[in-house]
Symmetry: C2
Subunit: 488 residues, 2 copies
């Protein structure tokens, strides 16, 4: 078998393959601070591209960016009972505001705060408090605000991008005059996410509603979109919540209606995180590393000048520079003092969509060596320069489409409509995947299944509700369908 | 006297004028969390524009963005003695990682951490630790990394943008093989800042070196650029530090040199913050509110449709939409259901550089009413549409230049070369400003002057060193010149 860049391979050990790809692609690393990661330049450039593209979608929908405090006073956090219960076990708490020397010459916390501050795990309570001041009348509605921020949810077992104590995200918060409009917005933002995942990240997902057990603490409805990684485990890619008037009542978000009289607003929130980078690794990566969808790649094309003799350098470099100017793409020329093969492997592992090699022969013949990351490495093409320039966006589109096709195929092949217990058992005794089943159970039964088998309802998919069938867990007739899976 | 939008005026009460402008321009507000602010959409859009423009300057110089942990373990923080001493009195400290119910039904911190975590006041120690892993050989140098992040420095007396417990900033960190290259980078980044302040924010500053008393904790040299607000108090706009090998030794940042053998790196860091928004308010604002330099305005042009009769609406709106398409600028059409006068004042207070009013008469005559924020409000021009379209960038450039001219004039008029004690005393008994004086004193004398008179050395300006003169504080001959001022 051919030697691949990542050891172990996906088949040998998927979790360790994932860690090794993150390392080889220089996306991120564990920091000396327990549970916190360092996002390296290559990983952060992907996040910046995602931010720019999402911002543009948000803006089209009248959402404005703002920034709210990192800290939440305990008393604010306590205002919504279910909400605080959901986060109480994973909160970083600031209790002191300075340090003082101890007798051994080290430092101890000093200056105890009258009221401890929670480092935000999410900002409903602090943004709700602000909304209550910003909103007076129906003319102030709808209010649509987003913030890009770091949040902290204390985790004992961490995995880069997927689960860490601190992570980066965006959280949108909206307030509306009517329940219908709020619900529409919660659904619309899920659509924005799902479309972004499909069209930009090339990840096919199943959108749906969360079951009661999996809802966001305090939400009336939580919507989600769930992807299936190559190891057939699910990854929740982001969520959107409809709160009804629960958070508005907790934070006193009231408005004077057009007809007169004071009413509570209806609110939503919706978030997506750096976890999406992990989702891309586990969806598109192969045994040579990451594969980046062109629409989100920090560098879409890398040109590698191949110079064996110093006297050829100027000629090759001029050609590369001219090519860079001509290409309608994000192009980087790798001028590092390394062997060409080493450079190629570096960009393969990082997942750059297109590599172009240019040596003296290519310059003489006015053509290039073209490698697409979605093809086998030996599968090289030799277009002329003008062919390359004319077709570069087609090549990039082809890669983008190939990745989405693969993701859709994987999702389709591993989503099984299951009507009997034995098929359900067989699926999860084997490689797993998404089991689409009629569901007549309740929260207690769902939690029992989770405890005993490590399976959860990923969502009640929008596209599969209403058909009458028998729930094999309970024996009851139902029109509700649920997707079960193991999940990250 | 004419009624102005802001009460009090600058002359009546500058500090309160500042607070009122921030409020009227909807830039930011105090949050319920002591010392933390909420940056409102208008203020945040300015910050986003600043980020984009600075990122582009950083990128040109080979700086890459990354992200590092919010928390710093106490033991890391302690590695550089002067550094920790400088920040110990203003650190938010996380001591617990969950909450538990107390006997009264409230919540208490629970799960005490073995080692407390400091919420980063700056990231030298955590980034230094990471650099020590990233750098092996001279081939890895120079390493130039920037992060956009929130930091926390506990403050008891806070002022929006100028001084708050949490603020947003960028912090650049670089490592080099030689002292010369590191020093050059520290100076280069100060130039980047100073140019950015002048050309984008239209703020004239005096760049120079900090005196020992004002140096960043642990730095060998700190460079700064100091602006003079309209009340003749100084504002430090950003700093760049040369660390020599001090932080490299504390964090073990070593490299194998080209000649073989292990050496410590030379490092720098440099930062600028949301404080720059406050600097713009206090530099450009007038008694009607903020004035935004066009190059950093979220909206450069606001079109206000004036529709008194409903049947005219479509005609006016079509004209406005067409105008928006034609103008080479960031244009917003204000379609809110408010009176035109109210809208105008809203954008005046927010500081939008150009307002354009369009009513049915303007449509009929194919011309517009043009108001520039740097002129008196009654000073309106009535260019034809094609004149406006042809000249819009000239108008914006004119505003940008006017603001810079005013800032330079103010700086020049209020910077005094002072050679005698009595002139120094007279200046600070009066309206204050920058006093450029020969300086032969030491840290002790500087601290005495600060304590007794509230005056600090803002910088030893680059442009005024070397000339021999007598220091009137000490009577000694010196070639060092210092700029004294009261400061924010």
């Amino acid at each position: 078998m051919k030697k691949r860049a990542i050891t172990p391979t996906r088949e040998e050990d998927f979790p360790n393959w994932y860690q090794e790809v993150i390392k080889a692609a220089q996306l991120a690393e564990h920091s000396p601070v327990r549970g916190c990661m360092v996002i390296k330049p290559w990983g952060y450039s992907i996040w910046e591209n995602m931010q720019a593209l999402m911002n543009s979608e948000f803006r089209k929908r009248g959402v404005e960016n703002a920034y709210f405090p990192l800290f939440i006073p305990l008393s604010y956090f306590e205002k919504e009972a279910e909400h605080v219960e959901g986060f109480a076990t994973e909160c970083a708490v600031v209790t002191h505001h300075r340090l003082k020397k101890n007798s051994e010459g080290g430092l101890d916390p000093d200056g105890e705060l009258e009221e401890p501050l929670v480092v935000r795990p999410t900002s409903e309570m602090i943004i709700g408090e602000t909304f209550s001041k910003w909103i007076d009348s129906y003319r102030d509605l709808p209010l649509k605000i987003n913030q890009w921020a770091n949040v902290v949810r204390w985790e004992m077992r961490t995995r880069l991008f997927l689960r860490s104590a601190e992570f980066l995200w965006q959280e949108g918060h909206t307030a509306h005059a009517t329940a219908e409009e709020a619900m529409e917005t919660a659904r619309e933002m899920l659509d924005v996410y799902e479309t972004f995942a499909r069209e930009v990240l090339a990840i096919a997902t199943i959108p749906g509603e969360k079951s009661e057990a999996e809802r966001f603490p305090g939400a009336v409805n939580t919507f989600t979109f769930e992807a299936l990684m190559q190891d057939c485990k699910a990854l929740q890619c982001g969520t959107s919540h409809y709160f009804g008037q629960r958070f508005a009542k907790a934070s006193n978000i009231e408005f004077q209606s057009a007809e007169g009289g004071s009413q509570f607003c209806y609110t939503t929130s919706w978030g997506s995180t750096t976890r999406l980078i992990g989702a891309m690794v586990m969806t598109h990566g192969d045994d040579d590393g990451m594969i980046l969808p062109p629409r989100v790649a920090g560098k879409q094309v890398v040109i590698i000048p191949i110079v064996h003799k110093e006297e050829m350098r100027a000629k090759v470099m001029d050609y590369c520079e001219r090519l860079k100017e001509e290409l309608d793409a994000t192009v980087h020329i790798d001028t590092r003092d390394m062997r060409g093969g080493e450079k190629s492997w570096d960009w393969i592992k990082k997942g750059v969509p297109i590599r172009i090699e240019v040596g003296p022969r290519e310059v003489d013949e006015d053509k290039v060596c073209l490698c697409m990351r979605t093809k086998e490495h030996k599968d090289k093409a030799f277009p002329t320069r003008s062919e390359l320039v004319a077709n570069i966006s087609n090549y990039l589109d082809e890669i983008q489409q190939t990745l989405l096709d693969r993701s859709e195929k994987h999702l389709k092949e591993n989503t099984h409509r299951i009507l009997e217990q034995k098929d359900f058992d067989a699926l999860f005794a084997g490689k797993g995947g998404f089991a689409l089943c009629p569901w007549g159970g309740d929260r207690t039964l769902e939690e029992k299944i989770q405890k005993e088998r490590g399976l959860t309802i990923r969502c009640l998919p929008f596209a599969h509700q209403g058909e009458k069938a028998k729930c094999f867990f309970t024996g009851s007739e139902t029109t509700t369908w649920a997707v079960f899976s193991k999940a990250y």
